[in-house]
Symmetry: C2
Subunit: 214 residues, 2 copies
DNA sequence: CACTCGTGTTACCGCAAGTAACATGCACGT
DNA sequence: ACGTGCATGTTACTTGCGGTAACACGAGTG
C-alpha cells in the first residue's frame, strides 16, 4: 500500500529537487560559491526551510550541485579518453577537453574546486584532504583506473597508476588554473606543453651553459 | 625629528604583530582554518578590535600568516632545488622536501591550501584563480624560474618553463594531498613514482594486451 | 467531518565578522 | 607640574548568515 504511492510522491519530490538545483546553479553561476541560502531560495521562488528540508544543510546542497557538474565533466573526459587514437593524441584530447570546460564556465569550475565548506558547527574531524575538492579525487581515481587497465607497468603497476592518476590530474588542474588567470598562451599551446612534459622532455632537455641543469 | 621616533614605535608595533601572529598560528594549528577571530584574540590575551587594527580584516591576518609559512616552505624547497647533485636527484629531493613538510604539519598545509576566503562583504571581483591558494602560484613561478634559468629548452622555452613549473607543482600538490589522506605507500615510493612520471615512463610504457594503450 | 501529511510561511536563535565609542597609560613641549 | 597627543586596550553594538521551531494551508482518506 505504500510502494506504488511512494513512487508517485517521490517523483514530484525529485522534480522539485531538480528545480531547486537548477535555481541554485543559476545563483552560484552568478554570485560564486559564497551564494547565500537566502539568495538561492529567493531565486527558486521559495524560502530557506524548504531548501533545508531537501538538502539537509548547505554542504548537502553544494554536494548535490557539485555531483551534477562533476558527473558531466567526467563524462566528457571519459569520451576523450576512450577515443580511437594513439596514446599521445588521447592525452592531448583529454587535456584539451578539460581546459575547454573550465574555460567555458569558469564560475562552475571555481565552485567545484573551492566548496568553501567551513561552517561554525560540528564535524571538524578532518583528516586532511577529506575536504579538498572531491572533483580532483574522482578524476584522479578515474584516470588511475584507465592507466592501470591499459598500460603494462610491471610490478607495482597498480600503485604507480594511482600515483600517476592523481599526479597528472593535479598537473592539469594547476596548469589550467594558472592559465585561466593569466592567459599566457593559447589553449593548444598549453596542451602541447603539458603533453611534452608528460612525454619526458623535462628529463631529455640539455643543461644551459654555466652549470649542472635543473 | 620623526623618523627616529618612528622606528622606535614601529619596532614595538612589529613585535606585537609577531606575537599576535604566533598566537594566531597556535590557534589555527589547533582548530584549523575556521578558527574565529575571537578565539585568536583570546589566545593572544587581548580582544578582537586589536587584531583588526593590526591586520585590517580576517583576510589580512590570514594573508600574513600564510606568508610566513609560505616563505619558510619556499626556503626549504629552494635549498633542495639548489643542492649539488644531478637533475633527477634534485627533483627527488625537492619532492621529498615538500612531502615531508606537509606530512609533518598537515594543519598548516591545509590552512595554506584552503584559506576559506569567503566572507559576506565586498570584493568578489574574481577573476578565477585569484582566490586559489597563493602558495601554489608562488611555488609554480619559482620553479618556472629555476627551469628557465637552468634548462636549454630551445625556442618558446620561457613559456614552456612556466607551464611546466605550474604543472609540476600541481602534480606534486595533488599527489601529496591524496597520499596524505590515504597513505597508500611510503613517502620514498611516492617520490620515486612521481619522478618516474616526470622522466617519461608514461610515454615509454608498453600497452597491455587487448587494445591500444592509454 | 476530523485526521494526517506534504508543502509552505514567518519569526526566531546562535554565532562570527566587523565597527563605534569610550577608557587608560605614557611620552612630550611649554 | 599640566594639558596634549597617540597608541593600546576595552565594552557593547550592528549586520548578516546558517539553521530551526512553530504555525498555516490544501488535498486525499477513514
Amino acid at each position: 500500500m505504500d510502494t506504488t504511492q511512494r513512487t508517485e510522491q517521490q517523483r514530484s519530490a525529485d522534480r522539485r529537487r531538480r528545480e531547486l538545483l537548477e535555481a541554485a546553479d543559476r545563483v552560484v553561476l552568478r554570485d560564486g560559491p559564497q551564494a547565500s541560502m537566502n539568495a538561492i531560495a529567493a531565486e527558486a521562488g521559495i524560502t530557506k526551510p524548504i531548501l533545508y528540508r531537501h538538502f539537509g544543510d548547505k554542504g548537502g546542497l553544494y554536494a548535490a550541485l557539485a555531483k551534477r557538474h562533476t558527473d558531466a565533466l567526467l563524462d566528457s573526459l571519459r569520451a576523450a579518453l576512450d577515443a580511437p587514437a594513439d596514446r599521445r593524441e588521447r592525452v592531448e584530447a583529454t587535456l584539451d577537453t578539460y581546459l575547454a570546460a573550465i574555460e567555458a564556465r569558469p564560475q562552475v569550475y571555481r565552485f567545484l574546486m573551492h566548496p568553501s565548506e567551513g561552517g561554525q558547527g560540528g564535524e571538524q574531524g578532518f583528516d586532511v584532504g577529506k575536504h579538498s575538492a572531491p572533483l580532483l579525487r574522482r578524476m584522479g581515481e578515474e584516470l588511475a583506473q584507465v592507466i592501470e587497465d591499459r598500460l603494462d607497468l610491471g610490478p607495482g603497476g597498480q600503485r604507480l597508476a594511482r600515483v600517476w592518476g592523481h599526479g597528472i590530474v593535479g598537473m592539469m588542474h594547476a596548469a589550467g588554473d594558472w592559465w585561466l588567470g593569466e592567459r599566457p598562451c593559447s589553449r593548444a599551446e598549453l596542451v602541447r606543453s603539458l603533453a611534452d612534459l608528460l612525454w619526458g622532455r623535462l628529463a631529455a632537455a640539455g643543461d644551459k651553459i654555466g652549470g649542472p641543469g635543473f
